[in-house]
């Protein structure tokens, strides 16, 4: 009889292990918009990059998968007598696809310590906009470089202007190139910015301005009926993906006319909330050779800039034979802000060995006959530099102090998983401790069970 009790006990114990194995990791990680937590369906994606230069200009070509391209950003929709803003920036993906796709690239020439080892992580302070617990304010709390603060971990301790100017002259900033599917692409522009004491645009005007008159609470511009044959788009068609590259779906000097409040606007009339325009000054450095297109499930974008713009305070100057460090981000599935995919830092060589080698070419445009450099991109979660460098929060903080590169210990897939777990750290630690206790109890119970049932009788 006892052998059956023994067999039953071992079976129950084994069964509980199998059950635990098949149900572990469930019950905690789920979207929680109240805490600004929305977990992307895919935690990693891929970006393909090529680079080429001719001594005058440098070209970067980016290609990444997007199931449904998002060619709109925020729009103004006429509803019951007033114009209502829809989408643009929001928590997680926008179900109406009113948040544009983007690609961005940070560049350094070796002047920013640790960027080559940790990439964009060094720019993520605590309490940035959209982080859980950060109050919503009018002022965006953007990424920044650690040495621009008297306390690197405190966003509010910005150094005096004179110190910031000294840092900038020493090259302590990251060049930031951006491409936006709505707010720059239709007019074949990019956007040239930087990350230093904040993330911002270079000197000059950017590729768009906001189409909103605060005094009248109306748009400033509408579609020019004489040139476009319409005054507005239809909202159902906008969210239904009916507009394509062959349509006029954006406002620019060629398509816009001053807003006419006397038109009989009807519910669902839709006007872009941004008006595209020519850029100026240093901000105009990054452009496209032609407006990018989405085809066969991929965006294919090429940005170009003069290698030496002369703007040494907000651009990194490229030189033949030079080495640089890059970090990329792509935005897809109508997501923005921190709901993006980032890369680990990678090296760029102009005609010399690096992870990404820029090919030298002669003639009008690059031939692009070199193979793509494949980059694994990952969702970064809410992992901040203060957390990573704090020995009480990160077991690898001592390795960072020793300047061991992130890629030596972690890969993008791991970092994506860690990024998600950090968003639920307190709950997971609590549940893990309960699991530890319950499983320990089970093992002790098994010990008691076996010692009670087994016999010392000879066979």
């Amino acid at each position: 009889m006892r052998k059956w009790y023994l067999a039953l006990s071992v079976t129950i114990f084994g069964g509980l292990l199998v059950l635990g194995w098949s149900t572990h990791g469930t019950g905690i990680i789920k979207d929680d918009p109240e805490r600004n937590i929305v977990i992307p369906k895919e935690l990693t994606t891929r970006l393909q990059v090529k680079a080429a230069y001719d001594g005058e200009s440098i070209y970067f070509r980016y290609r990444w998968p997007v199931e449904r391209p998002s060619i709109f950003h925020d729009v103004l929709v006429f509803q019951d007598g007033e114009w209502v803003k829809r989408a643009g920036e929001g928590i997680g993906p926008d179900p109406d696809f009113l948040t544009e796709d983007r690609v961005s690239m940070m560049i350094d020439d070796g002047s920013v310590p640790l960027f080559s080892r940790y990439g964009g992580y060094i720019t993520i302070g605590d309490g940035l906009t959209t982080f859980t617990g950060t109050p919503e304010t009018d002022e965006e709390r953007t990424k920044y470089l650690p040495a621009t603060r008297t306390d690197a971990n405190n966003f509010d301790t910005v150094k005096p202007e004179s110190d910031l100017a000294t840092l900038r002259k020493a090259g302590y900033f990251l060049d930031l190139w951006q491409w936006r599917s709505n707010r720059s692409n239709p007019v074949a522009l990019g956007d040239d910015g930087y990350v230093a004491e904040e993330r911002s645009g270079d000197k000059g005007t950017g590729p768009y301005f906001t189409n909103w008159d605060k005094t009248t609470n109306q748009p400033k511009f509408m579609f020019d009926p004489a040139r476009t044959g319409k005054t507005a788009l239809n909202f159902a068609d906008v969210v239904g993906g009916k507009y394509g590259f062959g349509d006029i779906y954006y406002l620019s000097p060629d398509t816009a006319a001053p807003f006419d409040p006397n038109i009989a606007w009807k519910n669902g009339d839709t006007i872009p909330r941004r008006v595209l325009r020519a850029e100026s000054d240093s901000r105009a450095d990054v452009v496209q050779s032609a407006a990018a297109r989405w085809k066969d499930g991929y965006w294919d974008v090429t940005l170009v800039r003069k290698m030496d713009t002369g703007n040494t305070l907000d651009d990194k100057i490229f030189r033949d034979g030079g080495s640089y460090d890059l970090a990329f981000a792509v935005f897809r599935n109508a997501s923005t802000m921190r709901w993006h995919y980032v890369s680990l830092p990678m090296s760029l060589g102009l005609g010399k060995d690096a992870q990404l080698v820029a090919a030298k070419f002669q003639g009008e445009t690059p031939t692009w006959d070199q193979p793509w450099t494949e980059i694994e991109m990952f969702y970064p979660g809410q992992v901040s530099w203060p957390r990573l460098t704090d020995p009480k929060q990160h077991p690898g903080a001592d390795k960072i102090a020793e300047r061991v590169p992130v890629a030596f210990r972690h890969n993008p897939k791991q970092l994506a998983l860690y990024g998600v777990e950090v968003e639920f750290a307190d709950q997971i630690v609590r549940q893990w401790l309960w699991t530890l206790l319950a499983s320990l109890g089970l093992i002790v119970a098994l010990g008691i069970n076996i010692n009670l049932i087994m016999t010392r009788k000879e066979n």
Binding site: M1, R2, K3, Y5, L6, A7, L8, S9, V10, I12, F13, G14, L16, L17, L19, G20, W21, S22, T23, H24, G25, G27, I28, P391, Q393, H394, P395, R409, Q414, L417, Y418, E421, V422, I428, Q431, W432, W434, T435, L436, A438, S439, L440, G441, L442, I443, V444, A445, L446, G447, I448, N449, I450, N451, L452, I453, M454, T455, R456, K457, E458
Partner: protein, 183 residues
């Protein structure tokens, strides 16, 4: 402290797995050699547990508790190390109390099954330690294939915690029933 943990942890791993090897041999053999080796099982397990406690303590001293419990891999390693240590200690008590009777009749198959679980647990603990120091093995990848990505914390949902608690109570109740059945 990490280097000492890595140094010491080889002892319990080697001792427990040697004990498992002897159990395996004895399960399938009644030869004189197997019987002789079986006598070394409980001392090996206890020595392993002794070294295991030292390794466990050294391991906990590597990082601050607040830091290691913020790492999914760290949490998993602590979890598995706790399982391993407690499980093999229980096995040691069993081995000491029952010695050769562990392999009498049908009991040998229970002994074999329980020891195999112990060998699996110690192997997983070791591979997690390797992953934690940046040297993941094929075992890490294999675990992913059978449902556990070790870079995510192993924790049970609330209802499973209740099931585990109920299971523990049930095992003890069965133990008493089983004891009564052969008194």
């Amino acid at each position: 402290m990490a280097v000492y943990h890595i140094l010491v942890v080889h002892f319990p791993v080697a001792l427990w797995l040697t004990a498992y090897l002897f159990i395996l041999f004895r399960t399938f053999s009644d030869s004189e050699l197997a019987v002789r080796l079986q006598k070394a099982v409980w001392p090996l397990i206890f020595l392993g547990s002794l070294a295991g406690f030292v390794a466990y303590g050294l391991g906990l001293a590597i990082y601050p508790w607040s830091a290691i419990t913020q790492s999914p891999l760290g949490r998993n390693h602590i979890m598995l190390a706790t399982w391993t240590l407690s499980y093999w200690t229980v096995m040691g008590v069993m081995g000491y109390r029952y010695r050769r009777f562990l392999f009498e009749g049908a009991q040998r198959w229970s002994t074999f099954a329980l020891a195999t679980i112990g060998a699996a647990v110690v192997t997983i603990t070791g591979t997690l330690g390797g992953s934690l120091t940046g040297t993941p093995s094929l075992v890490t990848k294999s675990l992913d294939l059978i449902g556990w990505n070790v870079y995510m914390t192993f924790y049970l949902p609330n209802w499973m915690l209740l099931v585990y608690t109920a299971g523990a109570v049930l095992l003890i109740v069965i133990g008493f029933y089983g004891r009564r059945s052969h008194v």
